[in-house]
């Protein structure tokens, strides 16, 4: 099975999304440190805060790089197979026949980096193919739409044969 990798734009998008989160969380932790712990001379709390900030910083640098290099997907006649993750590698396998709905989505950060998501819906929940180039996302959505229609036609044909 041949897996496809993401384009370099995805790496930029991953870094941007991660760092927005880091700035928000890091800001809260740093604010708590400067407002409560440093004036209160709470040494242990200060140490914990600095450690948390350090860990967040390392995650911010390392995690997008790992996620980018881990991320790969494959779409064939039978299934969609996506591998992604940082500490835990997650693999989602979705049989094409189970697809009910397709959706393409572009959030503000996605638009900034020219990437998009394809959300495939089954009767058991949603699976998302992320960080695709817009052109690629549209191609994938068209391909999957075609497969869904083919599957529906096959099912209808089967039913009609059954009735005859």
């Amino acid at each position: 099975m041949k897996y496809e990798k993401l384009s370099k734009r995805a790496l930029g998008c991953m870094y941007a999304a991660t760092w927005i989160g880091i700035i928000i969380i890091g800001g809260i932790v740093a604010a708590a440190n400067f407002i409560f712990f440093i004036p209160g001379e709470l040494q242990i709390a200060q140490t914990i805060c600095w450690c948390v900030l350090g860990v967040i910083l390392i995650i911010g640098i390392v995690s997008p790089w790992f996620r980018f290099h881990r991320y790969c997907y494959s779409i064939n006649d039978e299934c969609i197979d996506i591998k992604e993750g940082y500490i835990f590698v997650e693999r989602n396998i979705v049989p094409i026949e189970r697809l009910h709905k397709l959706q393409t989505n572009r959030g503000p950060i996605d638009q900034l980096f020219g990437v998009a998501k394809v959300i495939v819906t089954t009767a058991g929940g949603d699976v998302v193919i992320r960080f695709l180039e817009v052109q690629k996302a549209e191609e994938i959505a068209d391909l999957l739409r075609m497969r869904i229609n083919e599957a529906a036609r096959r099912e209808k044909g089967g039913e009609a044969n059954g009735e005859q």
Partner: protein, 514 residues
């Protein structure tokens, strides 16, 4: 009743039975009473202090009474209007429910997508001769609630269900084989005839109730009794403490009666259980205080579970539940029950009658399942390392700053660690998964045990998870997603060998739809 239903024809467009207003008012009355009791207490206290006969007191009392009557009357008006403006109709292959009140609504349900047709009757409905008809569709977005619920006269409800089930059969391409010589549809007769395939005696249900008891509920009930005893003993005859003792006893008694209720409900919930397989559906009926009738299309069953509580494991008994949309999706329906606690042989025999196409396991064969690989114990133990580090940090912290807390932290923290390790041990002894040709079987349990048969063609998608340690050890875990209510949607796959991933994928992709 059966004759009545034959005489009456189902109108094209009809309303719910007016008793629905009574049910709505009943629920509303309870809410109003709670609000009044909560807020009027203070006012009454004021009145008492000022004297009941004073003009102010009388005015306040009339104001409260008038306000109550006005609000109550207003809501009766709203409920009556809602009832009179709500209509149900069967149009071609859809059921249409329309509410023409201020907030207009029209819901259309495709007959083909219906996964369950249920009839329910509580005590009030038994007295009034009405019942609730509940329809569920095979849809993820509404899997946690009933899509369609109406109250009808019993005879009309039977006619409505008969019509819906006939249309379901037609939509599934079945010949309307439900027609009998008398021209009467046998779809309806199933619920009225006496020859059910599987019937539980009172003794069976009593034994089922006994096996359903969870060990934690028993522990809770016993500890409540012990709690009451010690509360009374500690207070002795001291009058000042009597009030606090009384409130403590009430609180503990509440826990005790909840536990006893949980134990007792197993005995009467499934009273009079009967099941029948007819064409492509399983028909169930049971209940003492709340009677239910289910018609479950076999094609909509996504998984079959065999359950064992600790008591059932000791007695070697199993009960059967189904995973589908429509059963057990509301708070009061805790499980989608199929068979009461029985021996494995008996269960196999009953399943052959009710679900012959499932062929879950061969005759005289035990349920086999691969246990989790031994190496998974290292991954599980490693996950407790974080807790041990946290505990060590806490002990160090309290040793430096507050020595009094060191012993309690050691005792409670240590006890929690032992529970974690016990959990890992029990998981290693019980949990497992195997990938058969038609089904994957998962086993999960600690004191009790649950076996699940999940047909590959019912798996919507699979999610597998692996970290670096698991990769080194050649193991993986994950989840299987099926169409079911929230509690059953995600089926857990315990640790298994990475070698089986491709097997799982292949079987999921190549399984023919049943």
């Amino acid at each position: 009743m059966g004759n009545n239903s034959q005489r009456e024809a189902l109108p094209e467009r009809f309303r719910c039975h007016p008793s629905i207003i009574l049910e709505d008012i009943g629920a509303f009355f309870i809410v109003i009473m709670i609000v009044i009791i909560g807020n009027v207490g203070d006012e009454l206290g004021e009145i008492q202090r000022g004297g009941w006969q004073s003009p102010d007191a009388m005015f306040t009392l009339w104001l409260i009474l008038g306000g109550f009557i006005f609000v109550f009357g207003l809501f009766i008006g709203i409920f009556v209007r809602r009832w009179s403006k709500t209509f149900i109709s069967i149009v071609d292959n859809t059921i249409v429910w329309e509410k023409n009140t201020l907030n207009k609504k029209k819901n259309t349900i495709g007959i083909k997508n219906i996964s369950n047709v249920n009839i329910e009757q509580n005590i009030l409905e038994m007295i009034l001769g009405t019942c609730k008809v509940k329809l569920d569709t095979n849809s993820l977005s509404t899997a946690d609630s009933t899509d369609f619920k109406i109250v009808l006269k019993k005879s009309r409800a039977d006619l409505f269900r008969k019509r819906v089930m006939e249309l379901m059969n037609e939509a599934e391409g079945e010949e309307s084989s439900a027609e009998t010589e008398s021209g009467q549809s046998s779809v309806l007769d199933i619920f009225e005839e006496k020859n059910y395939d599987v019937t539980a005696s009172v003794l069976d249900i009593f034994f089922h109730g006994l096996c359903s008891i969870h060990i934690f509920t028993v522990v809770l009930a016993i500890s409540s009794v012990v709690g009451i005893y010690f509360t009374i003993k500690n207070v002795g005859g001291r009058a000042g403490d009597l009030l606090s003792m009384l409130s403590a006893i009430i609180a503990i008694a509440f826990v005790f009666f909840s536990a006893v209720y949980n134990i007792a409900k197993g005995f009467f919930r499934y009273y009079g259980f009967q099941a029948k397989r007819f064409q492509n559906k399983i028909y169930l009926r049971y209940g003492l205080f709340k009677k239910v009738n289910y018609a479950i299309p076999v094609s909509k069953i996504n998984a079959v579970c065999l359950n064992q509580t600790l008591i059932a494991r000791i007695c070697r008994r199993y009960s059967v539940e189904l995973v589908n949309v429509g059963m057990g999706d509301e708070n009061q329906e805790e499980s989608s029950f199929l068979l009461w606690f029985n021996s494995l042989e008996q269960i196999r025999e009953y399943l052959n009658i009710l679900l012959p196409e499932f062929e879950m396991w061969e005759a005289n064969q035990k349920i086999t399942c691969e246990k989790q690989p031994l190496s998974s114990i290292f991954v599980k133990l490693f996950s407790t390392v974080w807790y041990i580090l946290l505990l060590a940090g806490l002990i160090w912290f309290f040793n430096e700053f507050e020595k009094n807390f060191v012993l309690p932290v050691c005792i409670y923290g240590g006890a929690l660690l032992v529970i974690m390790w016990l959990n890992i041990l029990l998981s290693m002894l019980n949990d497992g998964v195997s990938f058969g040709s038609k089904y994957m079987i998962t086993i999960y349990g600690r004191f009790g045990k649950t076996y699940k048969w999940i047909a590959y063609d019912k798996v919507q998608y699979v999610q597998l998870k692996q970290n670096i340690w698991m990769k080194k050890l050649g193991i993986i875990k994950g989840n299987v997603f099926v169409l079911a209510s929230l509690k059953n949607r995600v089926q857990n796959l315990p640790f298994f060998s990475t070698k089986n991933v491709e097997l799982l994928k292949e079987r999921m992709l190549n399984s023919p739809e049943r």
